[in-house]
Symmetry: C2
Subunit: 131 residues, 2 copies
């Protein structure tokens, strides 16, 4: 079981920004710090912006920063956003399963319950806990 690289990068960006609260940061700077492809980070940063986690100030001297105090950014919420695909097994993807037992399968409900427990634990923490 694994979270996507996308989630990994999103959390690293947020932790970086939370650790530098008094300045504007740049994607290049974060990419260099983490030795991550700038192109990968561009997409992550764009999405984090569209979800309201970070503000982008354009132009010379511009950059990115957290849109809210770190203590208000709940880790479970971030992971719900970044893990678009929370279909924990194949049969969770509509129309993409040939599982014979699907119609009467109780496993799906139980795996969803386990996933809820996973996210509920992450809801106990905010970004501030990781700075």
């Amino acid at each position: 079981m694994r979270l996507t690289r996308y989630t990994d990068y999103a959390l690293r960006v947020l932790i970086y920004l939370g650790s530098h609260p008094d300045k504007l940061s740049t994607i290049s700077e974060i990419a260099a710090y983490h030795n991550i492809s700038r192109n990968h980070l561009m997409k992550v940063v764009h999405q984090l912006g569209s979800w309201g986690y970070i503000d982008t100030l354009r132009g010379k001297g511009g950059g990115i920063r957290l849109a809210h105090p770190a203590s208000e950014i709940i880790i479970g919420d971030v992971v719900r956003h970044t893990e678009e695909n929370l279909e924990i097994v194949e049969c969770f993807t509509p129309g993409n399963s040939d599982c014979m037992i699907l119609p009467g399968c109780r496993l799906k409900g139980v795996l969803n319950e386990a996933l809820d427990s996973f996210l509920a634990t992450l809801d106990l923490y905010t970004l501030a806990d990781f700075l």
Copy 2:
């Protein structure tokens, strides 16, 4: 976030065997029922045997069956076995991370806590709940 296909297949095999308690089943039969490659299932069945979940009776008229009553097979335990790689993010794999924040990272502990919640929920169920 996703479980491996390996876990998916292991659960399907156990559910199949649990649903046919009064006979010996064959890998070919399960492969045909689920439209899964027989080769994939061979490995899964071998491992389920080595972990003590199923018995194999060799020879003519042989086959496989559950080694214990379905009510004694705990789903959380099965998933702990099949998900060898419970490294939920890259940095959990020793020597395989270049994450700059790893030395002081609290995220690792929290993700492990969330994973424990996930598995603890699965521990509430046995195979018998899915038959």
